[in-house]
Structure formats: C-alpha cells, structure tokens
C-alpha cells in the first residue's frame, strides 16, 4: 500500500459533514484516516504543509468526453484522467459517445481498465441508453452497470423518442442509476450553429432557439414524474430550463441538473468574429440566461457544475463556423472559472462551490468520494483559492487545445490532487 499522507494546517472544507475549519487530514491505506487537530501520523508518512490552502474532497465531473476508444488523437482515457487531476478532479464520468459506442459490458470494461492503467483520476463510464446511441433499442443496463457504468445517457444523440426515454427511466430504477439526458429537440435545432438571437441574426448563422432545450426539459420532467425515475439534465443553458426545473423540484420530481462553466461565464457574444472555440451545444445563450444559470447554482435549482469537456483537433475548429464541431475542453479551467465567476462573484461560498463540484456530484451519481469522512476514499484536492493565473492552453495535459478561455486571467486552482491515497498531480513537482 502507498505511503500515508498527512496534510497539515489547511482549511478543511467537507460539505458532506458541514466541516469548515483549519485542521490536519491524514490519509492512510487509500482511505481518509482522520481529520483533526495535531495529528501525529506514522513515521514514514509524507508530510505536506498546506497552510493557507484549502483541503477538500476531490472534485467530481459528471460530464466528460474522453474520446477513447475511437479518437485517441484528441484525447485518451489516460490524457483525460491526467487533465482531470490537474484540474483538481479526482473522478470523472465518461460519456458513451466513443467509437464504438460504450453500449455493452466489454466497452465499459475497456474504459475501466484503461483508467486503472493510467492511475490518475478515477474514470467512471456512463453507458449508452440505446444500442449504438441510435435511439431505438434499449442497451443492456444490467450488464453496463455490472461492468462499472454509473449512469446511462445517449448524450449528444438526444433521445427523441419519448417512449424510449420513458422505458429508460423505468428500467434504470432496477439498478438505481440516473438517466442523463442532453435535452435538445432536433427538429427545432437542426442545422443550428449557435444560439438563436440578435447575434445569430447579425452573423447570418442558423440559430438554435432556447425552446429546443426547454421542450425536452419539460418532457423529461413529465416522464420522470410519470415513472418515478431519476432524470439528470445535462448542461442546462436557458432561463426557461431553470424555471422548469425549479417548479419540478418544488413538486418533488426526481430531477437533478448540471451547468457548465462556459454557460455561467460567457454569452452568445463570444461567437462574434465567428470564433469556433465559442461553438458548443447547447450554445452560449443570452445575458439573462447566463444570469439565470448563476442564480440557479446559487439557490440549488441546478445541483452541480460539470465540464462537458469535449476535445477537438485544432484543424477541425480551424474551419467555417457552420462546419466546425461543437464543444470545448474544460477540465483544466473549470475550477478557476467557478472560483472566479461564482465565488469571487459573490454567488457561492467556497464550501458551497465544493458541494456543487464534489459532494453533490458524488451523491447524484451514487459515487464514492465527495466527502472527507473517516473511512471514505482518500480522494482529496488541495487548492489555492487565491492563486492568480492566466490560461495557457499549451500547458494543458489534455491532448486538445480548443478553449475560448486562452489568455483569460483566473483566480483559484488546484495545487495537489490525491486519488486512492496517492498523489496524482502536484503543481510543485
């Protein structure tokens, strides 16, 4: 077993138990051994002085695209897991839109074993809802879960059939897993390259109306109500979606939701000058939407922050806007953006942010971690919430560089990430 680690003198934030105090954290045997004052630790323990830093349960990203198998030139499980660790994440959930699709137990097992070989952040596969993400035949949830899948989703290929969504929500209950949905009515969104509004009008680009998302949010809520299933709504981007979720939660519907840093940071104006690094789906929306997403993260209508980390080759983005692929990478900027925008912006306290990036993601997908309770996995992040830094994509561990945040000044970042009691990322190293 690895060497015990003693983190001394940091501000310990553990939202799972309401802990916010200066204390030592002792990790031994891959688990949190104790949190308290003046912990001695074993003689051979690695002692790290983290005074002035924050010690928190490792961040957990419920929405990552790792591109392996199929597009290893963009990202691999190993490079993605390293990028995650550098961003303070001790675990990420990998979406199933790989090639071939992660719709069977062998595919899930492959990702699990690649993640073990990499030995960086944990990687939890998300299985497909339908065979081949084709939206027709239900995938074998039981076998997916048996091999290690923690949720199901057809992600970028939205479930257009309400019947399929209903059966998925019903059947998933056998295994206690959420059904994660990318809410997009394709008949409304088809061919759209950005948010439908004044900017798309000026740029002459086909717009995706907010209604394309909201219609499916409403449908999914209705089906969750009908079935009693747990629907998890991915990357919410509109004020209308926020309002629908708020009302559903008031009624007690089993709905959870995530928001991405780009949606609470940028608006459709980022697409001016046809910057393809601002092209993603759902698209960047209007200021009122951005504000609604921020308020929803503040009041808990949106439960968690997820990255939707989507690597693309620079050639693919170096194209006409209509032809460029959707998506940006996010693992190595998410924490900095969240602290800068939400904590420095006065919307969340640091403990609340840790809850939205660690404790609640663990709870929603029923994952280990998200807590520093004794006996919990020794998945820990040491972060410097005051660090000032500038985003340099060339320094990323991710294999891709597609980010609209290059050159942006951010506050806060991870200094040290520990997974299973082992240091997987150390900024000083």
């Amino acid at each position: 077993m690895s060497r015990p680690i003693l983190l001394t003198g940091g501000r310990v934030l553990d939202p799972s138990r309401g802990v916010d105090q200066v204390a030592d954290v002792y990790l031994d045997g891959g688990k949190v051994a104790s949190v308290g004052q003046g912990i001695a630790g074993a003689d051979g323990a690695l002692r790290l002085d983290v005074r002035g830093k924050v010690v928190a349960p490792g961040l957990i990203d419920l929405h990552t695209h790792l591109r392996e198998p199929g597009q290893e030139e963009l990202e691999t499980v190993a490079s993605g897991a390293m990028a995650a660790a550098a961003g303070g994440f001790s675990a990420v959930c990998a979406m199933p839109n790989t090639d071939p699709v992660t719709d069977n137990q062998a595919a899930v097992g492959f990702i699990v074993s690649q993640a073990q070989r990499a030995g960086k952040a944990r990687v939890y596969p998300i299985g497909a809802i339908s065979v081949g993400q084709k939206g027709q035949q239900l995938a074998e949830f039981g076998e997916l879960v048996g091999a290690g899948a923690v949720a199901v989703s057809d992600d970028g290929k939205p479930v257009m059939s309400s019947h399929l969504m209903r059966t998925a929500l019903e059947y998933a209950q056998v295994f206690g897993i959420p059904v994660a949905d990318h809410c997009e009515d394709l008949t409304l969104a088809q061919g759209g390259a950005m948010h439908e509004g004044i900017v798309s009008t000026r740029l002459g680009l086909k717009g995706i109306p907010s209604a394309a998302e909201e219609i499916m949010v409403a449908r999914d809520i209705i089906l969750a109500e009908l079935t009693g299933g747990h629907v998890h709504l991915c990357h919410m981007s509109t004020r209308g979606s926020v309002e629908l979720i708020r009302r559903a939660k008031d009624r007690g519907v089993r709905v959870t939701a995530e928001a991405c840093p780009h949606h609470f940071t940028l608006t459709h104006h980022a697409c001016e000058a046809y910057d393809t690094n601002a092209k993603m789906n759902p698209p960047l929306r209007e200021e009122a939407d951005r504000e609604a997403v921020r308020q929803a993260l503040r009041d808990g209508t949106i439960d968690v922050i997820a990255t939707d980390h989507a690597p693309h080759h620079y050639d693919a983005k170096e194209r006409e806007f209509d032809d460029a692929p959707n998506g940006i990478i996010g693992l190595e900027t998410a924490l900095g953006l969240a602290i800068t925008e939400l904590v420095c912006g006065g919307l969340l306290t640091l403990p609340e942010l840790i809850a939205r990036m660690s404790t609640l993601p663990a709870r929603i997908f029923n994952l280990p971690g998200g807590t520093l309770a004794p006996g919990a996995p020794a998945d820990v992040v040491v972060l410097d919430p005051e660090a000032q830094w500038e985003v340099h994509p060339d320094a990323f561990f991710s294999k891709s560089r597609n980010t609209p945040f290059a050159g942006r000044r951010l506050t806060g970042r991870a200094d040290l990430t520990i997974v299973r009691g082992q240091v997987v990322f150390d900024r000083q190293a």
Binding site: E196, G197, I198, S200, T201, R202, L203, G204, L205, K206, G207, P209, A273, Y274, D315, E318, R319, E320, F321, D322, D323
Partner: protein, 320 residues
C-alpha cells in the same frame, strides 16, 4: 498587402463601416461610373495588381460584375470556381487561403456559402479580401450598389423609407442593406412571412411591416428579395403560389400606394413569385441601373482597398 487608410484591409461587410466610410465609397464610385461609359473602358488604377475571384458558390451577376470592375481598373485577374479546383477534392478553406497567399496575390474576392468565410480568409492571409457574399451574413458590394442607386434617384438617403421585402432570414443582401441604410440615416422596414424574418430583427433598428400592403403604404422604395425556391421544401412557406398571392409585389398592389415607389431587386428574379413581370419591367424599376452601379461601386471598393486616394476625382489619371 495594402491596408487602406480609409477602409482597412478587408471589406467583409457594411456593419463594421461608419457613415463617413460608406459615403466615401459612394463618392468614389461616382467618377468610376463614367469609365464604363467610355469607348475604351479602362483606367490604369490597379495596373500590376493581381486579384483572384474565388467563387465557392455559383454566381453570374456578381462574378462578372467584379471581373469587369477589375479589368476596367487594369488588374490581372484569375477566376477560381469551387468545382474543378482543389476545393472539390476536399481542400479546406484555410489551405486554399495559404496557397493563394503563397502565390503573392494582392486581393481576393470571395463568394462562399458559409457565413463568416470572408472574415475567416481575411484573418488568415495578408492580401486584401473583399466579401462577394458569405452565406447568410453580408453581401456588402450589393448593399453599396443599392445605396448608390437610391442616392442617384432620391438625391439623399437620410429620411428615406426603404422596405426590404421577402426572405430576410436567409438574405445577406438584406443584412448589408440594413446596415448601410440605417448608418446613412434612412429608415428601414422589413416585410415578409414571420417564418422568414430573423429573430430579434428589430434590434437592428428596423420596423417590421407585417403585410406587403403595409410596406407599400409606408415606403419610398421597395427592395424585393429573391425567394429561394427550396424554402418551400424546408417548410417556411406553403407554396410559391400562395407566396405570390400574399407577399408578391404586383401592379394592383402598387396602384393603391399613396405615391410612386422605386422598385429594386438584387436578382436573379423569380418573375411571378416575389415580383410580377409588369412591376419588374415597369417605369419605376431600377433593377438594371442597379447592375450598372454594381460595376462602379466594386471599382471604388477595389480601388480604395488597394490604397487609392479618396480625393481622387479623375480616374483617368495616374495616381495609383
């Protein structure tokens, strides 16, 4: 590369220009009109300059108009059409751009189906880039020739009411007209089926006229857009017949107008769809003068981008 002191490096649209720049182009076009009326239609302004006309979309009028403008300015020109070039073999726009750059050309005139293509090219090569229509974004020289034609007829643009009628949603001509007209003080109305008007179009400073009768009653001039025939298949309108009945500009409708309206159309026309033949060919139509002005404004744009002096009023001279 030349960076024109008055227009910058590229002309990607009319949105980035201010009123003075627009007036300057129109004023510069005035003496160039005369060149096309001479027996020998040539001035040496762009002698020694090489210009590539890069047309990724089919175009007859705009391509020929640019080519005449270039030849009458004595530039050396090459036409590249998307089919039969490396583009049809899958070459990306950025590679096409770099190859043109490597041949040390001075200017590129680009027509492309993707909005933003002209800016994309302009941001990546040192040559001047002129947008000859990019997707649904802008068609600035069309906008300029419409401005020039209106100014010819009315003497000024400030206070003029111009209704842009038809498929505004998919129209680059509409966007360039809206920018150019509003910057020069004209009032702009847009009229068409709500399915073919862009979202939040009022924020561009235009009035929405719900019915063609409203546009005719309101405007001094109608700029009637071409209705792409594929809009019917895409479900934007039920049929061409119904479009003509509800939104077509006919002599009967014009007869009820309080005054005579100037009739414009960027072409190519669908006679009997958005415009009836007797209107297109009628006494108030300036559709052919628009085409004539097209050569003059394109000469002005090319000349100014090449660094030509804006106060030059003798295009036969040797100031280039």
């Amino acid at each position: 590369m030349t960076r024109s002191a008055v227009l910058g490096k590229d002309l990607t649209g009319l949105e980035p220009l201010d009123a003075d720049q627009l007036r300057l182009i129109l004023d510069t076009a005035e003496p160039f009109k005369e060149v096309s009326e001479r027996p020998i239609k040539k001035v040496p302004a762009l002698r020694g300059k090489t210009i590539v006309n890069l047309f990724f979309e089919a175009s007859t009028r705009t391509r020929i108009s640019f080519e005449f403008a270039e030849k009458r300015l004595s530039a050396d020109t090459v036409n590249v059409a998307a089919s039969g070039s490396s583009v049809s073999k899958g070459e990306t726009l950025v590679d096409t751009a770099r190859n043109l750059e490597a041949m040390r050309i001075d200017m590129v005139v680009i027509r492309h189906g993707a909005s933003g293509a002209a800016q994309f090219l302009g941001d990546r090569i040192r040559s001047n880039v002129v947008n000859a229509g990019d997707g649904k974004h802008e068609h600035p020289t069309q906008g300029l020739l419409d401005l020039l034609t209106l100014r010819d007829r009315f003497g000024k643009l400030a206070g003029l009411k111009v209704a842009i009628c038809g498929d505004v949603l998919h129209s680059r001509v509409a966007r360039s007209n809206i920018w150019g007209l509003t910057k020069l003080g004209a009032e702009v109305g847009v009229c068409g089926p709500p399915t073919l008007l862009p979202r939040d179009v009022r924020e561009l400073g235009v009035t929405v006229l719900p019915r063609i009768e409203d546009a005719i009653a309101w405007a001094d001039a109608l700029n009637i857009l071409r209705l792409q025939l594929e809009r019917m298949q895409a479900g934007f309108i039920p049929s061409l017949r119904e479009y003509n009945r509800v939104f077509g500009v006919s002599r009967e409708r014009l007869a009820r107008a309080p005054k005579d309206l100037l009739i414009m159309h960027p072409g190519p026309m669908n006679r009997g769809v958005e415009i009836d033949s007797d209107v297109a060919d009628g006494e108030h139509s300036v559709i052919l003068p628009q085409v004539t002005n097209g050569v003059a404004v394109r000469m002005a744009v090319l000349y100014l981008l090449a660094g030509g002096s804006p106060d030059w009023h003798h295009p036969g001279g040797d100031h280039a």
